[in-house]
């Protein structure tokens, strides 16, 4: 059933294209698999009826902004709008070329969590639906209820800005998002409680299965380098061979490069085909950025990017 938000989205998108205010609409349409959506990037006004809003709009669509020529109308959740702001700060996209269609987000459902809890794969589940603040999962006629905090993505559970702050059109009033910061960072807490040796072993194991598909980098809006350091050959910073040491260094390098740009959208971890818990690195980094520099990525489009300026009273001597 089409929600009011969806209805509004479709009519706004249609108007934007018809009035020539945008050349493209970047949104979501139903995916080809159950409980998925897929990006819809179109300049055809007949396509707007395909647009959807659901608890499965996972992708951070801002990653496509640098590729579309002309003006784009983009559907953005809170985290995505922060990525857009961050891209504006870095002068990767210009605000004038954007119409931000804000979605007040009540969190994205983590299908992997549901799969684990019910012991079934996505395609074996018949239905997942919100009933009040419960997620009801139906399998073969049997219903199972889960609380919101059990089914939302970890990054959603610590989201401070579910409703976009930067937008042109807001599809609804600010929504309600259940947060549980402790649960959101439970894996990070486990890592913090480890000895350095234990942590080293942990990450060695995790990065041993990295296949260097670079999906983490490709879905990341903050990874906008024309040429990634991992692909430099003169000098060659890292081996292209997928040894765990180089895999680890690639990710550490990537994380540091996106410090102050990462908005904890969770896409890197979600995209990883071999289940490396990348958010444990990115979220921790976001916390450090906040603690040391009192900086939250993508919250002020007029602010200088964190890593592109310094203050006279910087803590470190070398930068003064």
């Amino acid at each position: 059933m089409m929600s009011e938000m969806e209805q509004k989205l479709r009519s706004e998108a249609k108007a934007l294209l018809e009035q020539g205010r945008v050349d493209y609409i970047i949104g979501y349409e139903a995916g080809s698999l159950k409980f998925t959506t897929t990006p819809l990037i179109t300049n055809d006004k007949d396509d707007v009826d395909l647009l959807v809003i659901s608890p499965f709009i996972t992708n951070n669509l801002s990653v496509f902004l640098r590729e579309t020529n002309g003006k784009a109308g983009i559907v953005a959740k809170g985290c995505d709008s922060r990525s857009i702001v961050s891209l504006i700060q870095d002068q990767q996209v210009s605000r004038e070329n954007l119409v931000i269609i804000g979605v007040p987000c009540s969190g994205v459902i983590d299908i992997a969590k549901i799969e684990t809890m019910v012991g079934k794969d996505r395609d074996e589940i018949d239905d997942i639906a919100w009933e009040g603040d419960k997620a009801v999962v139906t399998i073969g006629g049997a219903r199972k209820e889960f609380s919101t905090r059990e089914v939302l993505m970890d990054d959603c559970l610590s989201c401070e800005m579910p409703t976009p702050q930067e937008y042109d059109i807001l599809l609804d009033e600010a929504g309600h998002l259940v947060c549980d910061k402790e649960l959101s960072r439970s894996r990070i807490k486990e890592l913090e409680d480890m000895s350095p040796e234990q942590r080293w072993t942990y990450w060695k194991n995790e990065f041993s299965r990295c296949i260097r598909c670079y999906a983490c980098r490709q879905v990341c809006p903050a990874c906008f380098c024309e040429r990634c350091f991992v692909e430099e050959s003169e000098p060659q910073w890292l081996s292209p061979l997928p040894r765990w040491q180089d895999n680890l260094m690639f990710q550490v390098g990537r994380m540091i490069h996106v410090a102050g740009r990462c908005t904890d959208c969770g896409e890197c971890q979600r995209a990883c085909p071999v289940n490396i818990p990348l958010r444990s690195l990115s979220k921790k980094m976001e916390e450090i950025v906040d603690e040391l520099f009192h900086y939250k990525a993508g919250t002020d489009k007029d602010a200088l990017p964190l890593m592109a300026h310094y203050e006279l009273d910087e803590a470190e001597d070398f930068i003064r």
Binding site: S32, T38, E67, D121, R209, P242, P273
Partner: protein
């Protein structure tokens, strides 16, 4: 045909383990892949639908030393890799992944014989296991076979409930059965149930493509830039669909200070075709077009077979749900006047 009780699978694997390194599906590393059996656990029979990492990785590893080299007076001394390892047996390979090996054999034994890959192939027995529960992303039945078909393996197993029916497919498989102990003969009822199971599995594959129409239309789409631009728009150019594809075989070569290695490469990466002066596939749509055409146009031109077995990994694992079956079914039916810049 023989049969084995499910609870006796461990005994059978133990027998084989004496002669082979037995690979079974495992999630021990954090992702489902074929890894050496630990001699105990047969729990994979309960959860195993297919691995995320395709068994091609057992023949074309993601990283492999081709040879070592040492600089000596007058030139380099090359050191070929260590002698052949123990014989392998891959237990439970799915028909799609077994067929994929037959397909990529063609390229590895074409004008140049790739001894690294071919030696492993010669050295390995494939014990297939039919799917009882294909994924919704699977479309093998559109590629000319079924999810439980005894094809491209040495032995084929069909799960009929508490027991597995074993078909001898090749002579190698027959030899293996001749040596196996503690197996019962399957009776007529068992064989009939195996047939029903295969048919039921076949019916469960509901994703369909029309390969005849696709192969007729796809070549005409080549210069339809608008079509490919739209198809490619949401692709993020990562390596998931190709790295996890059982028929993608591209690799890169990298030298280190004392050895030459090869590792998987991928036509989605812009650097894949980067040359000193130009890159013929700088734009994303050209790369996506290449990927689709390679599987459904170019490979059939070269080897008379589509380089896709409908395993569905590229659909299941894609971070943006770029679906090759959607692309293939949306290819315009007639030649369009689009021209390439």
């Amino acid at each position: 045909m023989k049969k084995v009780k499910k609870q006796d699978i461990g005994k059978l694997l133990s027998q084989w383990q004496k002669e082979f390194t037995v690979f079974v599906s495992s999630k021990e590393s954090g992702v489902a892949e074929m890894t050496p059996w630990d001699g105990k656990d047969t729990g994979f029979l309960d959860w195993y639908r297919n691995t995320v990492i395709p068994p091609k990785a057992n023949f074309l590893p993601n990283m492999e030393k081709i040879f070592g080299f040492r600089k000596e007076e007058g030139g380099y001394n090359l050191e070929p890799p260590a002698a052949e390892e123990r014989k392998q047996l891959i237990f439970g390979i799915r028909p799609c992944d077994a067929k994929a090996l037959t397909i990529i054999d063609m390229v590895f034994q074409d004008t140049y014989e790739d001894t690294y890959y071919l030696n492993r192939r010669k050295n390995t027995l494939l014990v297939g296991m039919g799917c009882a529960n294909p994924y919704d992303s699977c479309f093998c039945t559109s590629l000319g076979f079924g999810p439980a078909e005894a094809t491209d393996v040495d032995l084929m197993l069909t799960d009929i409930g508490g027991e597995l029916i074993i078909e001898e497919v090749t002579d190698k498989g027959k030899d293996l059965m001749g040596k196996a102990e503690g197996l019962e003969d399957a009776n007529k009822d068992d064989e009939a149930r195996a047939g029903e199971t295969k048919e039921a599995a076949y019916q469960k594959v509901t994703r369909k493509i029309d390969t005849k129409a696709i192969q007729a239309n796809l070549p005409n789409s080549f210069e339809n830039e608008k079509f490919w631009e739209k198809i490619a728009a949401k692709c993020v150019s990562c390596g998931i669909c190709t790295f996890l594809c059982p028929t993608c075989y591209c690799f890169d070569i990298n030298d280190e200070k004392d050895a030459r290695y090869r590792n998987w490469d991928c036509c989605s990466f812009p650097l894949y075709t980067q040359m000193p002066m130009e890159n013929p596939r700088e734009e994303k749509w050209r790369r996506v077009r290449q990927k689709v055409h390679h599987k459904y146009t170019f490979y059939p031109m070269l080897f008379d077979v589509i380089a896709c077995t409908g395993c569905g990994r590229c659909i299941r694992m894609c971070p943006v749900n770029w679906d090759i079956t959607r692309t293939l079914t949306s290819v315009p039916a007639e030649a369009t006047a689009g021209t390439e810049k």
